[in-house]
C-alpha cells in the first residue's frame, strides 16, 4: 500500500498507549450501559405512569436528549459540571456522567417498548393477586420486558461503544485517543488511524455477530 508503513507498530506501543485507552472505552461502555439501563428504566416507568407530571418530565428529557448531537451533550456536560459541583472534574469523569445521562434517553425508549410488549392481562393478573406496583414491576413486567428487549439492548450497547470514540471532543483518553497519541509520538498518524479502524471493526463486528446468535436463540425460546 503506497505511503503506509505499519511495521513500526509493535507490542510495546500497544501496551504503552492503546491498552490504557481500550480499558477506559470498555469501562465507559459497561458503566454507562448499566447506568443508562437503570436510569432509562426509571424514565420509561415515569413515562408510562398515570401521573401526568412524571410522564411529561420523562417525555421532555428523552426527546430533548434525542434531538441534540451527542458531541454537543458531551461539550455541555464538560462545560457545566465544574459550575454545578463547584470544582473541576476530569474529562473521563465528565464522559461517564454524560454517557449515562445521554444513553438513558435511548435505553428508556427500548424499555418502554419492552414494557408495552407485555400483555395487559399479565399486569391485571398480578394486580388481582394483590401485588403492589413495585412487586408487579419487579416480579412480572420488567423481567419479561428485559428479556424481550435483550437483543435490542445489546445492539444499543454496541452503538454506545462506537459512540464512546466521541469523547475525543473533550480529550478523554479512550481507545481512539490511544491510537492517535501513539501515531503522534511516532510520527505515523495515518497508520495509527488505519489500525484504529481495524481494531474498532473487529470488536464491533464480533459483538454484533454474537448478538445475532443470541437473538436467534431467544426467538426460538419464545
Amino acid at each position: 500500500m503506497g505511503g503506509l508503513d505499519l511495521s513500526f507498530f509493535s507490542f510495546d506501543i500497544i501496551s504503552k498507549f492503546v491498552l490504557k485507552g481500550l480499558y477506559f472505552s470498555t469501562e465507559l461502555t459497561i458503566g454507562s450501559t448499566i447506568g443508562g439501563i437503570v436510569l432509562g428504566t426509571l424514565l420509561a416507568l415515569m413515562r408510562l405512569s398515570s401521573s401526568k407530571t412524571l410522564s411529561w418530565i420523562a417525555v421532555v428529557y428523552v426527546n430533548g436528549m434525542r434531538s441534540i448531537p451527542l458531541v454537543m451533550v458531551i461539550l455541555w456536560f464538560f462545560l457545566l459540571m465544574p459550575t454545578l459541583i463547584g470544582h473541576s472534574i476530569g474529562a473521563e469523569t465528565s464522559a461517564f456522567i454524560t454517557f449515562i445521562a445521554f444513553e438513558a434517553a435511548f435505553f428508556s425508549e427500548i424499555m418502554r417498548a419492552g414494557i408495552q410488549s407485555i400483555s395487559k392481562g399479565q399486569v391485571m393478573a398480578a394486580q388481582a393477586l394483590g401485588m403492589t406496583y413495585a412487586q408487579n414491576m419487579k416480579l412480572v413486567v420488567l423481567p419479561q420486558a428485559f428479556r424481550n428487549m435483550l437483543p435490542v439492548l445489546l445492539t444499543q450497547t454496541i452503538v454506545l461503544f462506537q459512540d464512546t470514540s466521541l469523547v475525543y471532543a473533550i480529550g478523554a483518553y479512550d481507545l481512539l485517543k490511544g491510537f492517535v497519541t501513539a501515531g503522534k509520538i511516532y510520527g505515523r498518524p495515518e497508520e495509527a488511524y488505519l489500525l484504529a479502524t481495524i481494531v474498532y471493526f473487529v470488536i464491533c463486528f464480533s459483538l454484533s455477530t454474537w448478538v445475532k446468535r443470541i437473538q436467534a436463540r431467544i426467538s426460538i425460546i419464545r
Binding site: M1, G2, P69, V71, W76, K120, V123, A196, T197
Partner: protein, 258 residues
C-alpha cells in the same frame, strides 16, 4: 451568573460578528447533512436492493459486506479514515476538499443503515406483489423499479425519517477535521468569548430546530407519497423502539389504588 447575549454582536477578530459566524456555521452543517443525505439514500437503496437478490449470492455478499463494514466502525473513526488514511493510499484524493471527504464519510456510514431499512422494507412486502409484476410481463428490473421499490419506500419512510435526523446530528463529527460547522463554531467561540452557555444554547437550539425541520419535511414527503386507500405505512416495516412513538397508551391503571 447573568446572561450576555450581546456576545453575538461582538467582532470575532476577522471583521464578522459571532452572529454572522454562527449562521455561516449553520449553513455548513445543513450543506454537509444535505449532501450526505442524497448520497446515503442513493447508495442505501442500491445496496439494500442488492441484498434482496437472493438468486445472486455474489450480490447479496457484496451488499452484506458493505453494510457490515460501514456499520461496525465508529463514524468519527471513519471520518479520520477518509480524511487522513485514504489520501495517503490514493494520492489523487489529496486534492479533494475536506467538505467532500466528510460528506463521503457520513454518506457511506449512513448508507449502511438505510440499506438495512430498505432490505427490511422490501422483505416486508407480500411476495405476491413481485410475482404479480413478473406475471404481467415486467422484467425483474422493471418489477423493482415500478412495483417493489415504490412500495418499499413508503414502508420505510418512518425509520428513514429518524435516520435522516440522526444524519443531521452525526454531521457534528465534522468538527474533528475542522469543517467550520456548528459544533466547531461552538468549541471555538466558547474558547474565544468565554460565554460558553450562550454559545452552546444557540448552537443546541439550531440543531433542535434543524432536526425538527427534517422531521416535518419527511412527514410532508410521507403525506405527498401516500397512496389513497392504503395505510400510511406506520404499522408495518417499522422497527426499533422509536417506531411506535405515536403509541402512547399507558399500562392499565397501574400504580393506582394500592
Amino acid at each position: 451568573m447573568s446572561w450576555d447575549w450581546q456576545v453575538f454582536l461582538n467582532d470575532d477578530g476577522s471583521g464578522r460578528t459571532y452572529l454572522e459566524w454562527i449562521i455561516q456555521a449553520w449553513g455548513w452543517t445543513l450543506s454537509v447533512a444535505a449532501c450526505a443525505w442524497v448520497l446515503s439514500v442513493s447508495i442505501g437503496f442500491v445496496v439494500g436492493t442488492l441484498r434482496t437478490f437472493t438468486k445472486y449470492s455474489l450480490a447479496v455478499m457484496v451488499g452484506n459486506i458493505w453494510v457490515e463494514v460501514f456499520r461496525n466502525i465508529p463514524i468519527l473513526v471513519q471520518v479520520f479514515l477518509w480524511y487522513f488514511v485514504l489520501p495517503t493510499i490514493f494520492t489523487s484524493m489529496q486534492q479533494w476538499s475536506g467538505f467532500v471527504l466528510v460528506v463521503l464519510a457520513l454518506g457511506f456510514f449512513t448508507s449502511s443503515r438505510i440499506a438495512e431499512q430498505v432490505k427490511a422494507g422490501i422483505n416486508a412486502l407480500p411476495k405476491g406483489q413481485g410475482m404479480a409484476a413478473l406475471a404481467m410481463g415486467l422484467t425483474p428490473l422493471q418489477s423493482y423499479r415500478y412495483v417493489i421499490l415504490p412500495m418499499a419506500l413508503r414502508i420505510i419512510l418512518p425509520p428513514l425519517t429518524s435516520e435522516s435526523m440522526n444524519l443531521l446530528k452525526n454531521s457534528s463529527v465534522a468538527f474533528a477535521v475542522s469543517i467550520p460547522e456548528l459544533t466547531m463554531f461552538a468549541m471555538q467561540a466558547q474558547e474565544e468569548t468565554s460565554r460558553g452557555i450562550e454559545i452552546y444554547l444557540a448552537v443546541t437550539m439550531l440543531y433542535a430546530v434543524s432536526a425538527f425541520a427534517v422531521n416535518r419535511l419527511m412527514a410532508a414527503l410521507e403525506r405527498h407519497l401516500q397512496i389513497p386507500g392504503t395505510s400510511s405505512g406506520n404499522s408495518k416495516g417499522t422497527n426499533g423502539p422509536g417506531a411506535n412513538a405515536n403509541n402512547t397508551n399507558t399500562l392499565p391503571s397501574i400504580g393506582g389504588g394500592h
